[in-house]
Amino acid sequence: MPATLETKTESVTEPARSPQRLKLGVPKEIHVGERRVAVVPRMAAKLGKLGFDVVVESGAGTEAAFTDQAYVEAGARIAPDAAAVWGEADLVLKVRQPEMNEALGTHEADLLKEGARLISFVWPAQNKELLERLARRKATVLAMDAVPRITRAQKLDALSAMANIVGYRAVIESAAVYGRFLGGQITAAGSIRPATVLVLGAGVAGLAAVGCAKSLGAIVKAFDTREAVREQVESMGGQFLLFEFDEKGEGEGGYAKQMSDAYLAAEQEFIAGHAKDADIVITTALIPGKPAPKLLTSGAVVSMKTGSVVVDLAAEQGGNCALTERDKTVEKYGVTIIGVTDLASKLSRQASELYSANIVNLLEDVMKDGAFALDLKDEVQRGMLVLKDGELMWPPPRSEVRAAAPQPATPVAAAAPFEKPKPSPWPSRIGMVAAAALLVALGMYSPPELVPHLTVFILACVVGWHVVWNVTPALHTPLMSVTNAISGIIVIGGMILTTGGKVGSVLAAVAVLVASINCAGGFLVTARMLKMFRK
């Protein structure tokens, strides 16, 4: 939704400063080409309300178009350099994992105050050396890349948030290079055929790419080994390419798993067939902890039309395309192959906003009464915890919970935490006994002419029950007014009695009068209402 609304409607109240407040540091990212910042001014204001003193390194938000002034207005303090931020912060928020700061000549991890906490992307499996450094600082570290893929954790799933951006940007990048329109048009100068975009891998990034390419007017096809994502692809407006081979592709945690060689060969052939007709191929297939699968072979690239574009979002893990060169845009066999790895940074402002919202959502869960209180029983927090006071906590114990398939920015509705208490069987038993007693009494004492009437009455109740039960809610009011009119049938009761004495016949006439109002009014107003219901 329009971002302008968000800033306008947020009200900022200056919290009272107290000496116990935790200091939260936001250093400038130093990785080459990294333009994001972990906390944006709007979220800095929220963190202030959560009970933090926010300290931001001067210029930390510049690359994402957030000025120091904006942070000051949001209640944050500006520190002159990295050393000052790292030195005083009880909790450091970053995007990239700590690395060597060439300017200062020290590693960022060594700058961390002893016993302080760090929240950032960590990639603990790939960064053993970094973990050792942080452990020496007795640090507590939460990894934003280790958020469990469960429904409840979606609000802090930074990987999904970033993947969404990357998928969008991949389409934009390819469109910028591709020499034609993406959408079809009929113009005075002739009709333009829409471009065909092939998306390989329908995770969050893939789905975002499908949605973006579709909205630009392209014909979008998507391929994924997991048939479960078919519905998601179709919901984004893409056509799902069904590849049939006797092997299921869904691995643990909703990610794709690695397949056998025979499978891979068949898959490559299948993809090559579709790539030949595609103008743009966007590849997003990743397998956790493994090099990216080579889905697009050199042969497939050769067969593609001249002027086509490949964007390889797996370039960091070796690429899905055999010809991808990391961080480079190259042209091979007339096909432009883009191997960029910093697409999220290209939308630094958007990416920073989403990332910092993820972080604030996390801290809202972690903070209890102004104190940093990790809940190790919480599946989400435990899953993210890499180091606790220097002690290695990663990987977390395996959980039995089956992960949900990744979803693009569409949190699944949590089941209502509400259960009806089981009704006691006694009222119905008592009711049955009472009914039985009543029937026996009826059989013994009632006059014979009552029974046929009762029969009719009970059968009519049952009929009414069955006839009315399936009424659509839209017709509740008309149903009510028609039953109202029908209950005007009491008019005949009045009519039968008009033959009585003087007073009696007048009273009966009054009964007839009001009941006729009911009949006429009820049917006519129902007719009026029903006339309005149209398709």
């Binding site: 109740c461 017709l475 039968i496 009696g504 009273l507 009964a511 009001v514 009820g522 029903l530 149209r534």
Partner: protein, 482 residues
């Protein structure tokens, strides 16, 4: 004419009524259903008139004056009914329905009393069972009569919507009920004593029952809060059916019994549906005062008012709506009060013309009558195919860009799901907060009809557009179409 012929005609009429109710369950067959009902009614009246004229049926030929009285009453009643039906505004449907219920109640009381007088005059002995039927008929009729009048006044706003909670109200109900039983018992006993004196005692007792049950009717409905009116109205609908049925027992008329039973069970089903929609026990509704626990302003207000509401303006909302793909509109009683349904329809048409998919989400108890919102939207010309029920639409909120809540409050209150301390906890609600953005059109931050603060107002994805619903909607319409 033989005595059997009218009874056969009554079978036809009963059949027509059943088909009428069946027709009313689907929009496509509803108009035919209404027509069948009307035909059944005309048939019943014509046959009954003919029966009165048939000496074979064992009745004397009616005098000219009584025929005139009969024809006059029916004619006048039909004219009044027709005028009411033509004049009533769709927003006033609840009042009309309540008023019509009271008429059935009145007719049932009169039929009971007259039938008693009739028996007295002719000295006919119909037996204990008949006397019991009379007492029950008068009792149900009087409760329906006065209960409907109170409901009517509440709906019109002539008396406040707050529940009247007398101390010891359950005791009072019990006393009134027992009083009716005692008087009824005396009435039935008086039958046995014979003679002129005994019969008039019986009549007096019957009048006593009428008075006591009238008070009971007033008290039962007065104890129910205005927000729970949909249940009350459908309960009274049910009662009016039982009253007609009781009259049928009195007069040994199967048509009345069948028709009354049909209406009674239909009303009972509607009440049950409404109760489920509000997570209320039907027993509490019948015995009244179930709003009692709701009215603890101290705890209720404290529960959700921590937070800042985000105010927005018409331009921003308009931009938001026009740049959306999926919009859901949630109308509530506030829209009915402001008569804003036509302007709302124009907004949704304008959005649809821009390619935005617009749907309406109706909570089962939105408004003051079951299905009230559907009628208003139909009046404004909204196609019923884009009007969705709660269960259909709740799953779709996560894919919805903007939900516009117009004059609704409790039916979109998240506290019903996540705050066990909330008085409406457990009531199924429209989970609008799952949409990307919610715009609430509201007069102020005041609590809804149930007197409960709404945490939805303070959510981060909720924007408040303050002001009178009609004016806000008109401004929004101008902004969207410009």
């Amino acid at each position: 004419m033989t005595a059997t012929l009218p009874n056969v005609a009554y079978i036809v009429a009963s059949f027509l009524f059943i088909m009428s109710l069946k027709g009313l369950s689907q929009p496509s067959s509803s108009r035919r259903g209404n027509l069948l009902g009307a035909i059944g009614m005309i048939l019943a009246i014509v046959v009954t008139t003919a029966k009165l004229w048939a000496p074979e049926a064992g009745l004397t030929l009616p005098s000219i004056s009584s025929v005139g009285l009969l024809a006059g009453s029916i004619a006048v009643g039909c004219v009044i009914g027709a005028i009411l039906a033509a004049r009533v505004a769709m927003t006033q449907m609840p009042e009309l329905v309540a008023m019509l219920h009271s008429f059935v109640g009145l007719a049932a009381v009169l039929v009971g009393i007259v039938s008693k007088m009739h028996a007295e005059a002719t000295g006919a002995h119909a037996g204990v069972a008949h006397e019991l039927e009379v007492v029950i008929g008068v009792f149900v009729g009087a409760v329906t009569l006065t209960g409907s009048i109170v409901a009517f006044l509440k709906l019109r706003g002539s008396i406040g919507g707050r529940p009247l909670l007398l101390p010891g109200r359950h005791m009072l109900n019990l006393v009134l009920f027992v009083g009716c039983i005692v008087l009824g018992a005396i009435e039935v006993q008086a039958l046995g004593s014979g003679g002129h004196e005994g019969l008039s005692t019986g009549l007096l007792c019957l009048l006593g029952v009428t008075v006591l049950s009238s008070i009971l009717g007033v008290h039962l409905v007065a104890a129910i809060g205005g927000g729970d009116m949909p249940v009350v109205v459908s309960m009274l609908n049910s009662y009016s059916g039982w009253a007609a049925s009781a009259a049928g027992f009195m007069l040994s008329n199967d048509l009345l019994i069948i028709t009354g039973a049909l209406v009674g069970s239909s009303g009972a089903i509607l009440s049950y549906i409404m109760c489920v929609a509000m997570n209320r026990s039907i027993v509490n509704v019948i015995f009244g005062g179930f709003g009692a626990e709701v009215q603890k302003p101290g705890t209720a207000i404290a529960a959700g008012s921590g937070g800042t509401a985000h105010e927005t303006n018409v331009q921003d909302v308009s931009q938001m709506l026009t740049s959306s793909k999926h919009v859901v509109i949630v109308p509530g009683y506030g829209m009915a009060v402001a008569q804003a349904q036509h302007a709302v329809r124009e907004i949704s048409d304008a959005l649809a013309a821009r390619g935005v998919s617009v749907r309406y989400a109706i909570h089962p108890v939105a408004g003051r009558l079951p299905g009230h919102m559907n009628v208003l939207l139909a009046e404004a010309g909204v196609s019923y195919e884009i009007v969705k029920e709660m269960d259909e639409v709740n799953d779709e909120f996560p894919e919805t860009d903007v939900v516009m809540v117009i004059g609704a409050n409790d039916i979109v209150n998240p506290a019903a799901l996540d705050d066990p301390g909330s008085p409406i906890y457990g009531m199924p609600v429209l989970q609008v907060w799952k949409a990307r953005n919610v715009v609430m059109l509201k007069r102020s931050l005041a609590a809804g009809y149930a007197g409960i603060d709404n945490p939805l107002c303070y959510r981060d994805n909720t924007l408040m557009l303050f002001g009178d619903a009609k004016q806000s909607v008109m401004k929004l319409l101008a902004a969207v179409t410009s």
